[in-house]
């Protein structure tokens, strides 16, 4: 099953192609991490899938061509957790999450009992019950991110797009949010496409990574295949060491080659990581 199929997708701003002839398939029920340096076209690609930017080429969702879907149909297929959500400061959490039911409410209609039940279940699931009445301005960054996720889930769309969902969070809250998304992906069969800057986190959570550079897809596959020192150096212009953790995951560690005379990652031998990494690099 293919959730999102992209063929020869191009998104242009005047002469500049933000997404350039990109072809890829996102399998249903998987978590695909969208990685690439700033300006690679990750956000433009997500916006094209959401129908917010015009594109050429073909995007189809669950086998249906993008062009055949109305705005409302599209919002029942794909939900977005934006990078910097616009949060009306005085709006209560419950009202904000209820906005996610908009795709199911007629143009001039209001929420039905069913809409409220769906939202109540999501609020319960994400453990937001104790602050449904609080205005958004009083929430912390981590709470707010869960509330925004709840609104996206209220759309009950099979595909969830996340644009840098954790860039404003500390390491603990990053993990909490991503674990939550991971559970939704595994347990509810959601297809997740997440644009992420933290390559280690992207490698830890995604089933596959799609590496974009200059609007093109340059690599797609399991994290261990995509995240190599060579590709990261080539496309990010970054000096990194790629290590393996004990579970077979990939750890991307930035290095400072030109200071203190050493490219040492600081990982000592007794972790066993550095050895494995050197072995990996050699092999």
């Amino acid at each position: 099953m293919i959730a999102i199929s992209l063929s020869n997708v191009t998104v242009s701003f005047g002469d500049f192609d933000a997404v350039d002839d990109l072809t890829a398939e996102i399998p249903a029920g998987q978590w695909v991490g969208l990685i690439g340096p700033n300006g690679a076209g990750k956000t433009s690609l997500l916006r094209a899938v959401l129908g917010l930017l015009p594109h050429s080429g073909r995007i189809s969702l669950d086998g249906t061509d993008h062009a055949a879907l109305t705005r409302r149909d599209l919002s029942r297929q794909v939900a977005l957790v934006p990078q910097t959500p616009v949060c009306p400061p005085e709006m209560a959490v419950a009202d904000y999450v209820l906005l996610g039911r908009t795709p199911y409410i007629s143009y001039l209609g209001t929420e039905t009992v069913h809409d409220i039940e769906v939202v109540a279940a999501i609020i319960d699931r994400l453990d937001l019950g104790h602050f449904v009445r609080r205005p958004l301005r009083t929430l912390s960054g981590g709470e707010l991110q869960r509330v925004v996720l709840a609104r996206a889930l209220a759309q009950q769309a099979p595909v969830l797009l996340l644009d840098e969902p954790t860039s404003a969070l500390d390491v603990g809250h990053q993990q909490q949010v991503l674990e939550l998304v991971d559970e939704l992906c595994r347990h509810d069969g959601l297809t997740v496409v997440a644009a992420m800057h933290d390559l280690t986190l992207a490698g830890q959570f995604a089933d596959r990574l799609l590496l974009m550079s200059n609007g093109r897809s340059v690599a797609m596959g399991p994290p261990a295949d995509v995240l190599t020192e060579h590709t990261i150096s080539e496309h990010y212009g970054a000096s990194v060491r790629v290590l393996r953790d004990e579970c077979g995951g990939v750890v991307v560690v930035p290095t400072r080659a030109h200071t203190r005379g050493s490219a040492d990652t600081g990982l000592t031998d007794d972790t066993g990581l550095a050895d494995e990494a050197s072995a990996d690099a050699r092999g």
Binding site: A92, T102, V132
Partner: protein, 366 residues
Amino acid sequence: MSEQPTRVTVEAIVRADAPARPAPARLRRRWLAAGVASLASAMVVAIAFGPAGLPVGGVISELVSALPGIEVGDGLSDRQAGILWQIRLPRIVLGALVGGMLAMSGAAYQGVFRNPLADPYLLGVAAGAGLGATLAIAYGPNSTTWAVDALPLFAFAGAFIGVALAWAVGHTAGASRNVATLILAGVAVAAFLTAIQTFVQQRESDTLRTVYGWILGRLSTSGWHEVLLILPYVTISAVVVLLHRRLLDVLSVGDDEAGTLGIRTTRVRLVVVAAATLGTAAAVAVSGLIGFVGIIVPHAVRLVAGTSYRIVLPLSLLLGAAFLVLADVAARSIASPAELPIGVITAFFGAPFFAVVLRTNRRLVQ
């Protein structure tokens, strides 16, 4: 021994498990009642005040008798009844219609433009209506030769043409992607129309006083003529805008996110702006440019009752009506028998009132 703690624990668990019901924001009955009560009391005060004193008991029995099937006898002399029905009431009803319309349109504009400083005159309504009114005063047909008064028609048409121009210019410049473009187009159109208006006004300087009087705003009526003239437009406008109250809440998360929620934002904006403009143009046509109501009333409502458009729109309609009815009482009684321009009154009393609301709610504003 062990039973009591167990029972408490089970209760606690049951309570914690009960799903929190997320109730959507809505206009609470007590706020609606307060709004209706304010409008009713403002109207009673307005009926009581005036150069010719009317006995309150007589007014009440006169009004009750007007209801079909009820007869409680004449409380007023024929002359007093004439003052009530042909002079005082039409003016009060007109004030309520204009005030409610300006306040609700202001709230609607603030919603579609996500800008707290937006008022119903934002997109060239004022400049267009001003030009229309000036043309009517300077070159329009003499009111004795025309069956209808040309001024409201010209002002109405000018207001609508002003907004249509701003919309057209804005959307050829990409306003569907950025709302600020539309606002800037409105600024350009308003400046252009005001330039023409000023030119005409200078050329025909004998009209200066009339034009200036119109710009400052006034409620003057000849019987029920003006009320009937604007009633259909105000009704359509109010119904359409109120029906969009939930969509204005959706728009508050911005065009992009509202788009991902399935809303065609440009269409919603067009419909709401068109409806609000229809009502504003009608109001401006009979009352001139009464400033301030469209900004102050919706913000006072937000500070006191809540920021959802399900609350702000209906309450602005009611309280805007009450506010302008009271402002008109002040306008015709302070320098009686002369009348002050009502636009001066709305700002003079409205600004300190708003400052007080702002201060008493300073914890709400951050």
